[in-house]
Amino acid sequence: MARLIRMDRTGHTTLAEWTAEDDAAFADAVREFGEQQALGYIGTVPDGPGKATHVRRLPRDADMVILRRPIAGG
């Protein structure tokens, strides 16, 4: 089961879950992903040790997509 999670003040929130075969669940996840992007969140797929990828569209085959806030120099 793939998950779309958002890091927020609660630690993290699972916004959507889907499987590759479940078109309806994936469509919901895509909609949720787009809404969060519109709020300024950045989609990130952890690719194992030391690697992560920025995604602009929700990848159907990812195990986990993490939404994070932008970073900035302090």
Binding site: R9, G11, A52, T53, R56, I66, I71, A72
Partner: protein, 211 residues
């Protein structure tokens, strides 16, 4: 392109040169030269005063103190980016700690729980990532670069703040260093003295990993 290895936040700092290995070497040398520039005159003045008239020894000691204290203040500024931000315990921290733990390997997870800092090996060196900054131990351990950088959401629990920086670093190391504000470059031992006690073992681990 649906995916990218370029940090999207780079768009907010288009005027900055990429903070790559060459940039870091150059800034390491500049910081070193700058440190010599403001310490050597004090030391020279102290020696000259004692040589001219030993009665000036107290003033010479004050000059030597300046030569010691000024680099310490710069190192304090650098180490301060790693300090935990004082605030009430965040209710979401246990959940955030779980997610951060999932992103780390076993040894790094243990180190993060003990010290609050996440160790990450990169192309530029070994990074220590904290809530509001990151520290880079360059290959060979000298110098150490301190960066001030944080997630833009002030309500995030501490471990989520670390996870934000860790994911951005993993996405684009040079981009991460470019977005961050460079706060200090200098001797590792000087920064270590100014870190909170519990964080010092993380710097020792980063030094070992960088060798």
């Amino acid at each position: 392109m649906a995916t990218s290895q370029t940090l999207p936040e780079l768009a907010t700092v288009p005027w900055r040169q990429p903070t790559d290995a060459r940039w870091l070497r150059r800034w390491g040398r500049i910081w070193h030269a700058w440190t010599l520039l403001y310490t050597v005159p004090f030391i020279g003045a102290a020696v000259a005063m004692v040589w001219l008239d030993p009665i000036a020894t107290p003033v010479a000691l004050a000059a030597l103190a300046h030569a010691w204290i000024i680099p310490e203040l710069y190192a304090f500024r650098g180490a301060s980016v790693m300090r935990p931000k004082a605030r009430d315990p965040a209710p979401g921290e246990p959940v955030a700690q779980g997610l951060l733990g999932d992103l780390l390997g076993h040894e790094e997870r243990e180190l993060q729980r003990d010290t609050g800092l996440a160790l990450e090996r990169g192309e530029l060196g070994v990074w220590l990532v904290g809530e509001g900054g990151a520290l880079l131990v360059t290959p060979g351990g000298r110098p150490v670069h301190c960066f001030c950088v944080a997630a833009t959401d002030a309500e995030l629990p501490p471990s989520d703040r670390v996870a934000h920086l860790l994911l951005a670093l993993r996405m684009d190391e040079v981009g991460f260093a470019t977005v961050a504000n460079h706060a200090f470059a200098g001797a590792r031992w000087r920064v270590r003295r100014r870190l909170p006690q519990r964080m010092r073992s993380a710097l020792d681990a980063a030094r070992r990993a960088s060798e």
